[in-house]
Symmetry: C2
Subunit: 333 residues, 2 copies
DNA sequence: CTGTTAGCGCTTTCAA
DNA sequence: TTGAAAGCGCTAACAG
């Protein structure tokens, strides 16, 4: 492949001039520019961004690290990030960690080695120490998305998880449910805790004792939802309603219930966090509390890019409100 | 940030030695290695991959370019690609083009500048010329996914679109439908044409004249499906069944129908290409022909990486079979 | 306006 | 087993 010297030779100028043309600098005589442009075309030159980033100390990459690429919650967020990045001429690259902290470490390491300019991450890590040394050393603008990492000095964009849980409990209690089961998220993730806390608070506020047996651990995946609901159904006195800590868990529940020949909402009421837009358009079924996903993406990207452009100062936290989308997965009791 | 010289100084060795340790080469005395490792740690050194790729001429990046990150069809494929890439220690980065050829051009250009090692792409381009010069110049192993680009010398992994269309028509005809509408995909995309061709063939095979008015242009997006179904419903004699060229179009149709107070399948039977796994688990509704998405991803990655490892030879084409998933969106007539 | 030249951070001969 | 030094392809003073 042609390099800048080939182009320079062909155009009869120095590499500096070619560089100027490539980077659209002024102070190149129109005629010279033309000759260079011609040479550029003839050689089929494609600049080596790795070389240039070596001197420029900029890659123009905004990296997004998310735990599950097949969860529409995250892909919608990415759209928001892309919108914002495009405006600043930054390229977005996406990396997936599969909710796997080890994989996440590798991915982050990789991105740091590539010297990406900024990082937006919904972390699968349970403790700050799993990734923070890497992050600090990199010294890259960092925005935490959806999930907080305590002690990590970084901007944070999240939703009001506690509030969301309360909305859900209030809704179910309003329908007359008293035994409300709760499937938690993945252990160690901040949203898992907040959502559970919100559930506990709201239960108490309704005078309902949240019995430990009603709370089962999940993993933010279908599998966890599936296993959790089996446990709940085995209870001497099973819940009449269940809250899943995210959309995928709810789907796991639905699948398990179907196998058992049970019907939602006839035999059990079900709600969860996070919408699945496509599904709800196919058939508006699942009642959920939704987050303003796209906006969360935009805001996260904004924060990251502001830092890049030199905004110093203390880390900021942006909290979004959740909204109840009532559909048909619950019944009065 | 520390560079290799800082480490070398701290360890009291030359940069060459440090480089050897970083890259896990042999012929480093155990003692020396230890000292270097120590210095590596103390400095918090993170190698600059851009610098190393300059000399190594390898980035260890497999790039995936897809037209719609929110379409589960594509995200599932990515999973397959990731599986395969992980085995070869390649990192996967994903870029989204929004079905926009211009954006796609920019994205590809960007990836070529970054000198990614291989490219898997479901192209939004309508003509080869839109992107091929770029691709050829880059000289990068290239695998086309789902969508063919005629004249582009590249491996191809796709499904039997014509066959899928036939399955769908046969199914509907079997239910007694004779006026079967067809919403095409985005103009200029290979799958759009193949699916339409399959529809036409199959209709004829059933002795049904595929009237032009029954064929409406879509765009592989919800919007297109929505607009198309409005047109079909305005027909003097509307179809009793409709085939959408992909999952998102079908969802657009469903939304439009709901607004009109129409019910599927009571008032209209609906089928489409490509499954939406999550949705079908929430409520198994839409009857579709599905492609073995995950496998398509793995195969695509395999082909790409084989080329990278020197496999020369003529371009290969892998064709997958489609499967009918019968659910509840159709009725007998 | 243009060219020369010294890096950017790392790898890779080549000698020792 | 180790180090010196010449690149990899580009940018950024600096001088002219």
């Amino acid at each position: 492949m042609a390099n800048i010297y080939d182009v320079a030779k062909k155009a009869g100028v120095s590499v500096a001039t070619v560089s100027r043309v490539i980077n659209n600098e002024k102070y190149v005589a129109p005629k010279t520019r033309e000759r260079v442009l011609k040479a550029l075309n003839e050689t089929g030159f494609i600049p080596n961004a790795n070389a240039s980033s070596l001197t420029k100390k900029r890659t123009n990459i905004l990296a997004v690290v998310i735990p599950d690429l097949t969860n529409p919650f995250f892909t919608e967020i990415i759209r928001g990030i892309e919108d914002q990045a495009a405006q600043r001429k930054m390229a977005v690259i996406v990396a997936n960690t599969d909710e796997n902290p080890t994989k996440e470490r590798r991915v982050i390491r990789f991105l740091m080695e590539k010297r990406v300019d900024a990082l937006v991450i919904a972390s699968a890590a349970r403790t700050t120490t799993e990734i923070s040394p890497l992050l600090y050393r990199g010294g890259v603008p960092l925005v935490l998305l959806d999930r907080q990492l305590k002690g990590l000095q970084a901007d944070l964009v999240r939703s009001d998880d506690k509030g969301g849980a309360k909305i859900l409990v209030n809704y179910l209690a309003g329908l007359g449910h008293r035994r409300i089961g709760f499937i938690t998220g993945k252990k160690g993730i901040s949203t898992t805790k907040s959502r559970l806390d919100g559930y506990l608070d709201a239960m108490k506020a309704h005078g309902l004792i949240p019995e430990p047996e009603l709370i089962v651990e999940g993993d933010f995946q279908q599998k966890g939802g599936r296993e959790a609901i089996f446990k709940l159904l085995e209870l001497p006195e099973p819940p009449t309603a269940v809250i899943a800590s995210n959309n995928l868990e709810a789907i796991g529940v639905l699948g398990a219930l179907r196998e058992k020949g049970m019907d939602v909402p006839r035999d059990l009421s079900l709600v969860c966090f996070d919408d699945i837009e496509l599904a709800s358009q196919v058939y508006p079924f699942l009642t959920v509390v939704a987050q303003p996903v796209r906006t969360m993406g935009t805001v996260a990207a904004q924060l990251a890019l502001e830092r890049l452009e030199g905004e110093a100062g203390k880390e900021r936290e942006v909290v979004m409100q959740m909204t109840l989308l009532e559909r048909k997965s619950c019944r009065k009791v």
